[in-house]
Amino acid sequence: MQPEKAKEPERPDDAPAPPAAHTSPDSPTPQPAAQAEPQPEVAARVVGVSKSFKGTRVLEDVTFDVAEGESLVLLGASGSGKTTILRIIAGLAEPDTGRVVLHGRDVTELPARERGVGVIFQDYALFPRMTVEKNIGYGLRIRKRPKREIKETTERLLALVRLEEHRRKYPSQLSGGQQQRVAIARTLAYQPQVLLFDEPFGALDAHTRVRLRREIRALLREIKVPALFITHDQEEALELGDRIAVLHAGRLEQIGTPDEVYNRPETEYVATFLGAANLLVGVVSGGAVEIGTATIPAAAETARFREGQSVKLVFRPEDVVLSETGQLPAGARRLTNGVIEEINFVGAYERLTLRLDLIARQPHAGEPPLYNVAITTPERRIGVPIIVTRPKPAANTPRLPLGARVAVGLTAFRVLPNFTLASERGSKTFDVQG
């Protein structure tokens, strides 16, 4: 109970309160982390966009921007409204309120054809009756550009996407990856202000997906056109995005670099949607989080909370360290003890299910740190399970047997407010464990 001490923010990266997820329309770069770099020019900006379909709110006051040369990934589950945002930027749908600004010009009222936005549709939407060449030259042909210019541009783009030998083929004769490259070249022909990718790898198999994602990343670095990706795949988001915007039920939950969004999630949804996360409900008590009988020191993390406030302790499976001796490595904070209930070997790492004895009493002074109880006791069923992953080297030294009692420490975690009532929060929160 030292509130004055607890209020000392020791780590500035933990400071932003949840409302900061909705960036203010006035600040071009919403995240503090971006302030270190010189502020880049804004290529596309969406300001306060809301949209309803037949009485259902699909977008709620969404604001973000895409910097020049940046790739931003809009990540969300199906039904989160991410495709609607893309359609609104492209001019294929109209927002109920809000503006779309491209390179400083308000285009909200402009039809799609006057916006100069390149859309790469999920099915690529290549014109089936046109050859690769004709598809790429389409944008210039309808702009009535001279034949020579069309030819030169087509040549240049064919070389850029490495499809020279396929120029006379029809889209149906190309592979998925080749079709996608034609779709990109087709939009690059008219020098779009921003490229919008709608679930670009949805129609491809897992192997091709990974390869193409790297290809596109390399291509975008080369052409330096700002890009907005729409995806539901968190791995894709982490790999493709300079920044990631997490969308949930029509609201922007958080926007930031992959590192920020993954390691410092601002909401429970972001924590659980991007990668696996363990969630434990606790209360703030004297610069620590109390979870049942366990206490973990968290002076900096709890600084922004009231004493006694209900919070959630969020941590990733890979941020858990286990020790059979009770000796945790430096930097890890002791949470409690637990029993190993399940061990799965998942290739590169080991996944353990651990049952924390959060209702057991703490060992008294002089008692051994590991308070041994048989795992067949009812306690086993009331304890809280968490998921722990360990890379191969750590998993082998030492190998932990099933049923072993271990001390549990955390190297990194987040403390988020626990909204017990749905009305306290605009979007839904889930009690997902692991």
Partner: protein, 278 residues
């Protein structure tokens, strides 16, 4: 038991069902379709090609065939263009009464052609609902080539529409949206993207309409007045000559119409695939 049944069905190494089915099918088809068609050719050429040619080149016969082609052509042009438009509107926009319009448009398929002709007479005839208003101005639509075209349009409208609309319905919207984001106007999108995808459907719809219009009899005979050298189409000519007992004259034109439909259906059969692929 089971072995007895199987021997009944199969002579060893030989499937009885296959040749039996084929022969049965041919026996049914022959007298119903193939023999009547063959008989026009047999009868038409029985008196030598010279008399066939003379019957075919009679001025009345030539006029009737020309009139048929002329009226069918314009009915086809109208029905393809307007069928395309109607299919576009009805598949792209949702509005009150849309289904009712689709049903109404498709209705002529089920209406007896004589009823269709009669209905046109009641509308445009000298004492018809609209014809009564036009008659004092000296405008008489019925019993002219225009009447034949109107009848053809009425009767064949569902054909082109019916072929084109499903293609519109299944066409991916993203093609048109892609064209719009690339910078095309609605018209450019329609011309460069939508229309090429409809090529097969348009040709099919046009051929079906044309074939049906050339053969149209029931409505034509009511609205045209069946005046030789003025409003007599080829099917009416066959009917008139047959009634007059000039079977050779009727038969010569009948051969031409039969060959004509054969050609159109061959084209339909083979060209559709060719048009839809590259």
């Amino acid at each position: 038991m089971s072995s007895a049944i199987s021997t009944f069905r199969h002579v060893r190494g030989f499937d009885v069902a296959r040749p039996l089915s084929i022969v049965t099918m041919l026996l049914i088809m022959l007298p119903l379709v193939l023999l009547p068609l063959a008989s026009i050719f047999i009868f038409g050429t029985s008196k030598g090609l010279g008399s066939f040619w003379a019957a075919l080149t009679a001025p009345e016969a030539i006029f009737a065939m020309q009139l048929s082609l002329f009226t069918s052509f314009w009915a086809t042009v109208f029905n393809v263009v307007f069928g395309l438009f109607a299919a576009y509107v009805l598949s792209r926009y949702d509005f009150f009464g849309r289904t009712a319009v689709i049903v109404t448009i498709s209705l002529p398929t089920a209406i007896p052609t004589a009823v269709a002709g009669f209905a046109l007479l009641l509308l445009w005839g000298p004492y018809g609902v609209l014809g009564r208003l036009l008659a004092p101005q000296g405008i008489q639509l019925m019993f002219t080539a225009t009447a034949i075209i109107l009848a053809n349009i009425f009767v064949t409208f569902p054909l082109a529409f019916g072929v084109i609309k499903p293609v519109f319905d299944t066409m991916s919207r993203s093609l048109e949206e892609a064209s719009a984001t690339i910078g095309a106007t609605r018209w450019q999108t329609f011309w460069h993207v939508t229309l090429p995808s409809l090529r097969g459907a348009i040709v099919t719809g046009a051929l079906l309409t044309f074939a049906r219009a050339v053969g149209e009899f029931g409505s034509t005979i009511l609205v045209s007045g069946n005046l030789a050298m003025r409003t007599q189409t080829a099917p009416l000519y066959i009917f008139a000559k047959f009634n007059e007992g000039q079977v050779e004259a009727a038969n010569a034109v009948a051969i031409v119409l039969a060959l004509f439909s054969f050609v159109i259906f061959s084209v339909l059969f083979f060209a559709r695939d060719w048009l839809d692929t590259e």
